[in-house]
Symmetry: C2
Subunit: 176 residues, 2 copies
């Protein structure tokens, strides 16, 4: 951040009076610009004993497999955001969303919130951010071709719960 | 948002190419400025059969009671943020944080993530954002003097679980 989004003057990074950490503060109008973590919402779409993954058509990690997930938008609930991402990335309608995991990636100020979800029958169609959409059995998950550590962690937790049942809610920290 | 925080030129609200919703876009450098929901993290600090509440020394809702909670900061996990808020607002050290609820307030683009926590022995000391810190038994919760609907909802869910046990993880939507 270089300029105040309110008045257009320069900002400086300093600790405002009464605060305890540096913020961007406008040198003219004094507005304090807070920056906060972003939420990523997504789901594990389940169809019978298989799960749906998308192969990314965009950077970063073009060509790698991911669960449908993306940034939560303003005026949206986390359930709505997760369902929207499945529809956008895989043409997939999901229902019965059940909270499954919250994953911190503090180093890049991201928080993932992932659901388990039931997948309505297809056809499932790759959206513009996906090259391909495919169902995988648990033993066939392409571990070495997954896009992000958050996705690997989510699927590891899923398989652990699947092995011993029932599904529970998880919290985990990830080093980016 | 009126000006680009990167280059200082004017922004306009329009749907960028390939997007599906309006964003602030810089008219000079073309940077798209995404705005996303903020996370509020907090906890229900438990000490024996009582819970700790703080009476707010700041607006909004000056003088009303709240659970310790506040905006998640960059580079922080949700557990760290919830523990920090308890320390800042009540001088309280909490441990054994257990995920309890996620609450959407979509109308104001906020997502609350609340924990159950065990409270270390006091004394507990009001921080600069609190007038007073006090332990309440369940039957004595000051329902009509609570600061926010998110806090009321969290405490309702807590009492429901307390009545029938065990504690589970909840998801709820709140109209602001």
């Amino acid at each position: 951040m270089n300029y105040c989004s309110d008045c257009g003057a320069s900002v400086s990074l300093r600790i405002p009076s009464g605060d305890d950490r540096p913020r961007f503060v406008c040198e003219r109008c004094g507005t304090v610009h807070y920056e906060n973590p972003k939420m990523v919402v997504g789901c594990i779409p389940r169809w019978r004993d298989r799960i749906l993954l998308c192969r990314r058509a965009i950077e970063p990690r073009y060509g790698h497999w991911t669960l449908p997930a993306g940034y939560l938008e303003n005026q949206e609930t986390v359930q709505q955001g997760a369902a929207r991402e499945a529809l956008e990335e895989a043409g997939a309608v999901v229902r019965d969303l059940q909270p499954f995991a919250i994953l911190n990636i503090a180093s890049i100020s991201q928080v993932y919130f992932m659901f388990l979800a039931e997948l309505e029958d297809g056809p499932w169609v790759p959206g513009k951010e996906s090259l391909e959409v495919r169902l995988f059995e648990s033993h066939a998950i392409p571990w070495r071709e997954l896009a992000f550590s958050s996705i690997s962690k989510t699927l590891e937790l899923y398989l652990e719960d699947l092995g011993r049942g029932p599904f529970s809610f998880h919290i985990a920290d990830i080093q980016a």
